[in-house]
Amino acid sequence: MAHRILVPVKRVIDYAVKIRVAGGKIDTNVKHSMNPFDEIAIEEAVRLKEAKKAAEVVTVTVGSTKSQETLRTALAMGADRALHVEIPESAEVQPLEVAKILKAIVAKESPSIVLLGKQAIDDDAGQTGQMLAGLLDWPQATFASKVELNDSVLTVTREVDGGLETVKTTLPAILTADLRLNQPRYATLPNIMKAKKKPIEKLSPADLGVDVTPRIKVLEVSEPPKRSAGKTVGSVDELIDKLKNEAGVI
């Protein structure tokens, strides 16, 4: 059962950074790191490999040269090798285009499982895994909080609005990782050093026959309105009056 797990990762603005909008654009000259849900995905894949349920963990990213550091982090966490689909720094890719690239990567690598983070913390799209499943016509188990792999059958507990749902799927399949799936490991120093020797293969979207021109145009970016102080009211009538005439919500 030599399962190969493909884990796509994305370099995003670090979750702890305060996002600032300057001149209608987000200030990107700040600290970046691996999307936290992708860290959880890498961790789960590496755990499956350590439990001998998978033979190889391959990581891939679509990004500029700076994304290489994200791949190195994935390798330091235990991925075996990496693929870098390089795009210019000024370019952006959107979920559908990434899904198309991943479809081409899947054709190249033949993984049994594609394990993604449930969403990226910059666009919060939460679409790539699902679109990929559609393009490949593969089963999908999203928002996974528990994953069990036995004899090529995946049993996945999903976190849904109403509670927890358990699904079973055969392989190959798409999984997306939710927050409570696991606690990602810290990259230990010996693993950081070993990661240096692991291979990173470079590709371009053209090599994979994918057109990455964005189809969605961003019209405006603005900061949310600043929170103003609350007010105390003396009676229910006053409350209704304020909600109707000041806040305009009823």
Partner: protein, 422 residues
Amino acid sequence: MSVPRFASLVSRSRGAAAPALRNAARSFSTTNAIRSAGSIPSLHTFTEEEVMLREAVAKFATEVVGPKVREMDENEMMDRFVIDGLFQQGLMGIETPAELNGSGTSFTAAILTVEELAKVDPSVSVMCDVQNTLVNTVFTKYANAAQKEKYLPKLATDTIGCFCLSEAGSGSDAFALQTKAEKQGDYYILSGTKMWITNSYEAGIFLVFANVDPSKGYKGITCFIVEKDMGVEIAKKEKKLGIRASSTCALSFDDIKVPASNVLGQIGQGYKYAIEILNEGRIGIAAQMLGLAQGAFDLAVPYTFDRKQFGQAIGDFQGMQHQYAQIAVEIEAARLLTYNAARMKEQGKSFVKEAAMAKLYASQVAERAASKAVEWMGGVAFTRDLLAEKFYRDCKIGAIYEGTSNIQLQTIAKILKTQYAK
């Protein structure tokens, strides 16, 4: 080099000296102009693994060490979970080669690790620093192959080491140590006491400096590898002002038997090893003090933009602006001194003066930064609810251990004399 030719000119009137020095500079620049302008990177340049390591350690420090800092300080005890974490992360054998279960990384990587840990807890930082820059390095530089194979893997994976030089009667005057080692057949019988030994409460491996022949003075000082079960006794665990979670103990050796094969390096050369090692260890302490200063700064300055008085954030008052700007300058200067000393050591250049300068200055900056941080945060920082008061207590040791500030100044002055006196 041209400078000696112009030395006599320099000692004449200043007017004559100026063109001479300018000529000297020109001839220096032609011999050193190996690279073009713009190709030599700043000291804020690191290898990929140094960057990754710094981020991994910063994360580990914040998430694993952070929640336990106050508790460890109140209990005056290092948490076992934190110690295990340091070993699991590969942070206790940073420069040890991979074949000996170490992480096989650079000295600067060790310095960055010590710095990042100190931003969160200077006690944890010093444990890691002593292990890497003192204990591991003594083995790597002076031990024989059998000793390296036996002890370096243990030090990298699960055993804490400590450096036992100081005694009640010998601190700065280290060579006046009294611990004796008497040869008896295949053993040495060690007797004496050591004081102020960092890590000693948790340590399993002790590098003990003892004199095999007091009639030879300091030339009898020898370094011994002593294991805990050879009979090392903790005479007293000190209660301290700062770095309370770091154990500092008085040890006693009551005629303990140490195999002759545990002599590290040459007999009678121990004094030399101690001096050389402490030169490197100094850069480690500089990194610890640097991290402490930065940690205190990072704690206090955001607070000044939250705290409003008289209708504005206190951080916007010009008086405050001048203060934190000044401290930021000093932290950056301490950083550059520390990183530069580390890089010079890596390059195999002589770094004794630079290491002393880095340690001296970083410990002074740490004291100023920690003190100001408490002031900037005001009354609440005076309570043990915040860690500002801890940084203030922790910083004082920087001017004392691994060579007091006066010793650093003396070291620097001696080197300056060789450069300036004829």
